[in-house]
Symmetry: C2
Subunit: 206 residues, 2 copies
Amino acid sequence: MITTVLLVDDHPVVRSGLRAVLGSADAVQIVGEAATGEEALTLAAHLHPDVVLCDLRLGNGIDGIQTTTALRALDPAPAVLILTTFDRDAEILGAIEAGAAGYLLKEVDPEVIIDGIQRAAAGDTVLTPDLASRVLKGMRSPLPKLTDREIDVLRLLATGSANKEIARTLFVTEATVKSHLVHIFTKLGVDSRSRAIHVAQETGLI
Amino acid sequence: MITTVLLVDDHPVVRSGLRAVLGSADAVQIVGEAATGEEALTLAAHLHPDVVLCDLRLGNGIDGIQTTTALRALDPAPAVLILTTFDRDAEILGAIEAGAAGYLLKEVDPEVIIDGIQRAAAGDTVLTPDLASRVLKGMRSPLPKLTDREIDVLRLLATGSANKEIARTLFVTEATVKSHLVHIFTKLGVDSRSRAIHVAQETGLI
DNA sequence: ATGCGCCTCAGCCATTTGGTTGATCTTCGT
DNA sequence: ACGAAGATCAACCAAATGGCTGAGGCGCAT
């Protein structure tokens, strides 16, 4: 049984690399390549690959997580294996929640990728050991969800805006901004704007 | 005249991709591969490649800029062409200042890389058009150099530490921290810690 | 229709932060 | 030996920030 794979990565060089790496494996066959999430969706709908190997960062257009969600809604749904450079906690969690079968970092050796593809096709969850523990940690302490408005404030906060500026930008009073901030701080478990920015970035919240 | 190239990238997949891409070009020949900066230096010293194609992010060990500096100190010095995913201003500037012959983003097409290698070997500076303008902008407004101590403070600042914490961590008084902060703010042209964090991150200062 | 969550706003208070001036000490290069 | 630059600290002041209580309005789901 050979496993069909669709490559999704916005870097031509990386696609070449994966082509080279997977080309040496008899058990997997690349049936298509896409540079964007949109492309990936149309191709997957036609080609019905067993596995979609997908980067998280996809330059322009929808990102890897959105792509994953949409791919999983197809029938039959391909297994989605995320292969990326980054290891931000929120992104890993997000990918898993979106229905990804696994998450591999690009620093791994070719065999691991080939193995991962086959395990993903078989329905297994595939995570490198270091990531697995992080995912479990993430399970234990789920970061509280911020409301849309709070995210708005947080984003501006991260650009270094003062309360007054944030208020002007969002067309509300400073009191409102302060109110949002108190909620944000409480949810993030911090007591200063700088630290809020820090944990927001660490957890990939922004 | 064929151009000899040393690949430096911590991702096996990317190296495979470059191998595939450059393998199709008669004018360039890969003479070696390294996964770390240290490896790159020893290999370059022995192989004397015309061009070193180097990622900026090199996982563990020294980074691409340090590697570039060290490579340029060799005799004969190879041309160093940075090929990376990121385009932070300070990193581009840093690479150029370190003596890199150019800076390409991984999203470019294979031909651009091949062309870039040959131009770099010929002594040209190679930048994608969008990057070139950014470099010029960077020339106009060189960000002032921070002292070592100021960087220490800035790093702690970026983790969200309050003045009191920074003082404790660095074994100085709060007055000293405030003094450093004033200097940092002045040099960065900001007036709040949050914004200092923001520009520091934007410019790749930390 | 009755809550519940979210967004909005107000006032008060303690603390932190940013801005200023000025001082001592060390180090480094010339 | 001299000045320049950096690191350290002090005192003071104005402004911003963080923590608190409380409150009105709006949409949405049960």
